[in-house]
């Protein structure tokens, strides 16, 4: 090889590597982080729209439309932090203010276990107001070993504005911790969230098979692609969503309550579970 050919070859490689470097920067700036696999919801259609599932290391907003819809955010947090069955993942940090405990009920660890979560790795941070909750959230998002953050903010707190949500999204991006913001009694407002869900509870499909958490989840905003509207049923046994079993009339496998009739009170009543 002549020296000039070597030189031109080297320049070529250098040019290419500069280009690759540029591409990398471009991807880092715009695209989702490549090494973090998306968290599959378990429903093929929803996963396809979301590009594989919920993006980790990003901010996701859940607007609960009724009392029970907040459970959807808990399900997402279990999905992100790791459920009791896979044994992986990090601790779940749940941040809420004192007001939310009064208005929406205190967190019940046994209830989280019933949903398939891991109460032994649950941290509850109760703050006095929304501003403190946001401060705690940004501390938590800076810590990479955290499994997931669930930030519960009800109403329209002044501290939560576009800047605050950008900061949260940025912190989540840096550390790779998934942040779920649960908004109750609130109207949608501009934010930097990756996805936004309007969720209300859905009636159980069948008379027999009722009681599993099922939601009417509307993806009203998705930074990466189209939006959608699905009915999702949470399966506490494997910590993932599934489509509701429509039209299935097979008998419910669990034990069912005996029909009530008038009995003498002395007779020991069977508990129906």
């Amino acid at each position: 090889m002549t020296p000039t050919r070597v030189k031109s070859r080297l320049e070529h490689i250098m040019n290419n590597s500069a280009k690759i470097e540029e591409l990398r920067h471009f991807l880092a700036r715009t695209g989702p982080s490549l090494e973090r696999p998306a968290l599959s919801l378990g429903v093929a259609e929803a996963d396809r729209v979301l590009g594989g599932g919920i993006a980790p290391g990003a901010l996701h907003e859940v607007y609960a439309q009724d009392w029970a819809a907040g459970g959807f955010a808990a399900c997402l947090a279990i999905l992100a932090a790791g459920s009791a069955f896979d044994g992986k993942g990090g601790p779940l940090f749940w941040v809420r203010s004192d007001y939310e405990a009064l208005e929406y009920g205190a967190l019940h660890a046994q209830g989280l276990r019933e949903l398939g979560g891991r109460p032994e790795t649950l941290f509850l941070i109760r703050t006095a107001n929304a501003a403190e909750a946001l401060a705690a959230a940004s501390d938590i998002l800076a810590c990479a070993p955290v499994g997931a953050l669930l930030l519960e903010l009800s109403g329209m707190p002044r501290a939560l504005d576009l800047v605050a949500s950008r900061k949260l999204n940025f912190a989540a991006n840096l550390s790779g911790v998934t942040a779920i913001v649960l908004r109750e009694g609130a109207q949608a407002m501009p934010s930097a969230a990756q996805t936004r869900w309007q969720v209300s509870t859905a009636p159980s499909p069948g008379m027999d098979d009722w009681g599993l958490p099922s939601f009417r989840a509307e993806l009203v905003r998705n930074r990466l692609g189209p939006t959608g509207n699905w009915q999702l049923t949470w399966n506490p046994d494997d910590g993932i969503f599934r489509e509701p079993a429509h039209g299935v009339t097979a008998p419910h496998p669990g034990r069912v309550a005996a029909a009530l009739f008038d009995r003498p009170a002395e007779e020991k009543r069977r508990i129906a579970f």
Binding site: W67, G105, L112, E120, R126, A128, T201, G211
Partner: protein, 504 residues
Amino acid sequence: MWLPRFSTDRLKRKDASLSEGAPLVVAGRAGNALHVQALDVRAHRLGLYKGQPLANARAMVQALTIIPADDRHDLKLLEQIAEWCDRFTPYVAADPPDGLILDITGAAHLFGGEAAMLTHVTQKIEAQGFTVQAAMAGTASAARALAKFAPGHIAAPGAQAEALARLPVAALGVEDKIIAALRRAGLKNIGQVAQRQRGELAARFGKSFVTALEILLGQHDQPVSPRRPLPDLMAEQRFAEPIVAEGAIAASLLALAQSLSSVLEQRGLGLRRLGASFFRADGQVRRLDLKLGGASRDAARLMRLLHEKLDALADPLDAGFGFDVIRLEAMLTERTEAAITSFDSNENAKREIQYLADRLSVRHGEARVLRFVAQDTHIPEAQSAAIPAQARDFASQSQWSPRRQAGDPPLRPLRLFEKPEEVSAIAAVPDGPPLRFRWRRAPFEVMHAEGPERIAMEWWENQKPTRDYFRVETREGQRFWLYRDGLYDQSGLAPRWYMHGVFA
């Protein structure tokens, strides 16, 4: 240290006019009679004495300023002086009514020896307007006796008995009756008493007298309880000029944290609780208490926690005229293995989570960062206890088992109201599930219901009615946990219904 004119000095500090004019006497009440409880130097020169009936004192000196005693304020001030004395040594005890005990073991060399420390401390207290007599000895009671009867004396180790021997019997600190009896027996000083057979003394004056004598002579030890728990280790920095600047305070804190952590490292210890004391030049002391979830001796980490704490203070640290002493105290230490960077990423992750919990606890208060522990009970609201994350070590193994069986829906709600809320409900049959109910002014129509799951209170709480729980689903699909309080027979025709939780 003895402040012989403590009460009167206190009054004079408050009201300078008392220093002039008539001699000052503080009158106390014993039984039903007033007597002289404290008196100033002028009254003392006129021949008045402590314990004298007030009427006698009045008869002797017509022009007397008499002020009623205020023991509560005296004690408060004594505590404040003790707090202030903390800058000399952490082991300070107030010795009411008018004394202070400082254990200066290992502290004297910081002031250039015992004699220099004694003059330093007395000068500082005199500068505040108190008459003070101080002495040093091997035991607290010996030092007390020397301070009262031979102020300024420093009893060398081993020479304590000699130093005490020359003191009058009054220095024994026992009842006046016994002292009078000792004098009558010709025993004028402690040395003479100490030479007597113990048996003789016990027969005459009782066993407690002998014990008091032996404690004084250093043959028995009597513990002194310090005002604050003693730190295991401490590091402090004194400043020739009080410091005010934030940067200077931070730099000195960092230096202290580093020196503390190096000592901890040598001993293989880690911190669980850190105290920081800031002694202001005007006598105010500000203390901070820092708890850590796991033992640590990382100076940088301690610094960050301290700064968090300082930032989060409701009333910020006010330097005033400056701090002249800053001290870090290791209040609670425990043995830890050497801090090596583990290759086990699991271990590192655990440590980082611990650190995060510490920082959140410091900023928001430890009662606000909670973890859950399963309780062995079937009462729903008592089943999971939320306790501060720093309170103890938590098992990483799950103690929680689901109540439902595979395939079943959740049997316990995700959110449980701390106080169940009463709803008005209509049921088809008296002990059946509700058909519709009203909660928070909104009507709900029940589509599905399952129950009752009867939960009776524990037998020792059998006054409380049993509860029949129903899982209900409304027309819109919201799932709630309702219960009827009491059995139908007991609660009569209008049973009370309560909303206890919301399922996901």
